[in-house]
Amino acid sequence: MKTKRIFGIMLLFVGALLWESCDIDKFEPLGENSIEDATPPQANFSFSNGVTVDDFLEYTFANLSTSATTYAWDFGDGNTSTDLDGFNVYPAEGTYTVTLTVSDNNGLVSTTSQTIEVIEPEAPLVPDPLIVNSEFVKLPKSSGSDCACAGWINRDLGDQGESSTASGADVVKFDNNEPDHVYQEFEVVPNADYLIEVSVRHSTTDGTLPSSLELRMLAGSGYEAGYTPVYYTDTAVMPQGNSSTGYWGYRTVAQMEDAANNLTVEVIPNPGNDDYNTYQYSFNAGANNSVALFMRGIGGAASGNYGYNSGNEEIRAAYVTITAVN
């Protein structure tokens, strides 16, 4: 019996000791000697949004945080979320600051913010191309005297057009029996449709003289290899297709006449009157962001440096416009 009692007391004593020893805080305060969090959470996210007029207010957020277990999104418009990935529909256009706060199970916190600008997309209108000296006014050239042909010269393809007037206004002239031309490169939107309008006058009324005006839209893909177009605004600095003023993308008549390089070829014969008549043509830019307009007089016997001739009639052009079809 006695031993039993001693045993019981000892049991109590050991139990009390065990009880005391379990109070770890007394010996080792929490946090002391514990291993530091080697992988603290790191907040990060990316976002994408709708691009149409219908869904531009809808934003999707991809959570790219590391070592995090809880997430708090503040979308900047009063909406919040604790989902892993975020989704928000904004009330209107504006600038919003999106904040993502993440934390891990040790209570470490990381925060990141990004500013988003919600803008309603505009209808993607194709702009009209910029044509320099489209009314064939006598302007300075990079070399030589002022000319209605300023900005429209590529000596690799023909002789320059000449200056003339009609009712006091300047016009460009494709002289009889000469290989006269106009040429200019301009920027377009790939695959967009464009309308060309040109005002042309033949010099006789009977239409028997074999002179026609030919109009070609040349593809930028046909430019000489390695050529990068430059879009000038000032006729006084534009190349004329020779060594002193610089060259264009089309360097030979054969290159210009290659069917694969022609988006459209139009021929304007003598209409039987000597008025300024308006002609309209359309073309699609195809896989080009640059094209060149080329016009020349044809109909005469092939001769001279360029292998073509305008025939026995003078042709004049008052203006050319190119507009995008939207």
Binding site: T60, L64, T66, P124, N191
Partner: protein
């Protein structure tokens, strides 16, 4: 004694020659090593064949072997809304539920296989100096095509990855494990493909060609948003002699037809040159019970949008288990498996069906995509013309007058279903997040945005000694 002196002198002389480097590190004469190989066109050509061999992968049940293209469907199609495992079991099921772990052996195998192709391409490029002037540009084009193809898959699947553009030594851990930004890797991809397109001619489909390089480059440019470049490349290819196969089913069973621009080719019956994916897509015919099975979502989609001349050649009801649906673009050696769909005359696990990487229909649809050019729709006649050709063959002959971005994404899904294109299309169209999260919600998966990239295999992270960081979310 007198002789001893002589012996001493002889020994001293012999030591002089003994230390020649060749003697200490001899090049073996009876075995082939890369040191004494790749010395002429014939030998280098075997190296080029070796590149295609790496793309094929090894027909094996061991994940220790590089499986190449034979397991690509796991990391691409089964992560899209098109396919899943039949029984949602095991490592293979991690893909459809978006619960892939860094230890997933299939992911690791794909990563390792792809870098093996890159290694073999670099090996050929390193030895181009020994090739003849006429052969060198062709070998260079083929090797660079293969390297670009490999990297294009890697960056889309893993994001930033190590850039290995030469043969590196095993000690070069910095190159092997430093993740390089995708934009830098895309620079190499574009320049490799431009070289390949310039150096190669057309006329091959089992090996790289000019059209193959241009088609792949067009897809790279679409991915990067360079639409004009992509359109020009597509129009180049449209000027060659490729054409749509009149019957959709023949695309897959009339091997080497006019539509195929580049395929990874296999031959039936030979273990070294056959594939097993055709068997794996069937019901318990291969090693698995059935993978790359068609989702309910894809079945409903194809029934509604595939067209009468395309849907029946895309999927079928599993004859053995009629609640399930199988891909039928790669039936083992063209056999349908009889009444139960799983009884084959030939050995299905040694199938010879080619894997089509690039075909003309893809180019026509890329042409449309390049004209839409990131916009919402197009009515340009060039685009309508390309689109209509695809629709007409599918038996959907109503005249199309306008193509929206969604129309195009749908048409790509219907035309190229189960050809490992869907995931990349969703990513490129910016639709992956919304469509995959909705798909996962419907099928009980646990998708989040970080699942768009695969994990870097844990083995690589471990070997890198801290050089490599895991993708977020893993």
């Amino acid at each position: 004694m007198k002789h001893l002196k002589f012996i001493g002198v002889l020994l001293t002389f012999s030591l002089l020659f003994a230390c020649n480097e060749d003697f200490l590190e001899p090049i073996p004469e009876n075995v082939i090593s890369s040191e004494n190989y790749f010395l002429n066109d014939e030998q280098i050509e075997t190296g080029v064949i070796g590149i295609y061999d790496a793309m094929q992968g090894i027909n094996s049940t061991s994940l220790n072997d590089n499986r190449g293209i034979q397991q690509e469907f796991y990391v691409t199609e089964m992560r899209s809304d098109n396919t899943r495992t039949k029984n949602q079991e095991g490592e293979a099921a991690q893909f459809e539920s978006y619960t892939i772990t860094p230890n997933n052996g299939i992911v690791e195998n794909y990563y390792r296989s792809t870098y093996n192709t890159i290694y073999r391409a670099n090996l050929v490029l390193e030895n181009l100096g020994n090739a003849s002037q006429t052969a060198a540009p062709i070998f260079e084009g083929e090797a660079k095509f293969a390297r670009a193809y490999s990297y294009f898959n890697l960056v889309r699947l893993f994001g930033d990855v190590p850039l290995v553009d030469r043969v590196i030594s095993p000690l070069d851990a910095e190159t092997a494990y430093t993740r390089v930004s995708t934009s830098t890797i895309y620079d190499l991809i574009v320049s490799d493909l431009e070289t390949a397109a310039a150096n190669l001619e057309n006329g091959e489909y089992a090996r790289a060609s000019k059209a193959a390089a241009e088609a792949l480059l067009a897809k790279v440019h679409l991915t990067l948003g360079n639409y004009l470049e992509a359109q020009t490349l597509c129009e180049n290819i449209m000027g060659y002699s490729y054409m749509l196969e009149p019957n959709f089913n023949d695309v897959f069973y009339n091997e080497g037809n006019n539509e195929i621009i580049f395929a990874i080719v296999f031959s039936p019956g030979i273990e070294a040159d056959s594939q097993d994916f055709s068997a794996e897509f069937m019901n318990g015919v291969g090693r698995t019970v059935g993978v790359n099975y068609v989702t309910q979502d894809a079945v409903a989609f194809l029934d509604a949008n595939g067209g009468p001349d395309r849907t029946p050649f895309s999927y079928r009801i599993d004859p053995f288990q009629p609640t399930q649906n199988q891909v039928v673009k790669y039936l083992p050696n063209g056999e349908d498996g009889g009444a139960d769909g799983k009884t084959f005359m030939s050995d299905a696990t040694l199938s010879g069906n080619d894997w089509v990487v690039l075909r003309y229909a893809d180019v026509l649809l890329m042409h449309v995509e390049s004209i839409i050019a990131g916009g919402q729709d197009t009515s340009v006649s060039a685009a309508l013309n390309s689109f209509q050709q695809i629709r007409d063959r599918a038996g959907l002959t109503d005249t199309v007058t306008n193509i929206t971005k969604q129309d195009l994404l749908n048409e790509r899904r219907a035309e190229l279903a189960f050809e490992n294109q869907r995931l990349f299309d969703l990513l490129r169209f910016g639709e992956a997040q919304s469509i995959l999260s909705a798909h996962a919600t419907a099928t009980g998966g646990s998708y989040s945005a970080t699942d768009l990239l695969l994990p870097i295999p844990q083995r690589e992270i471990n070997l890198s000694n801290g050089l490599m960081q895991q993708n977020p979310g893993y």
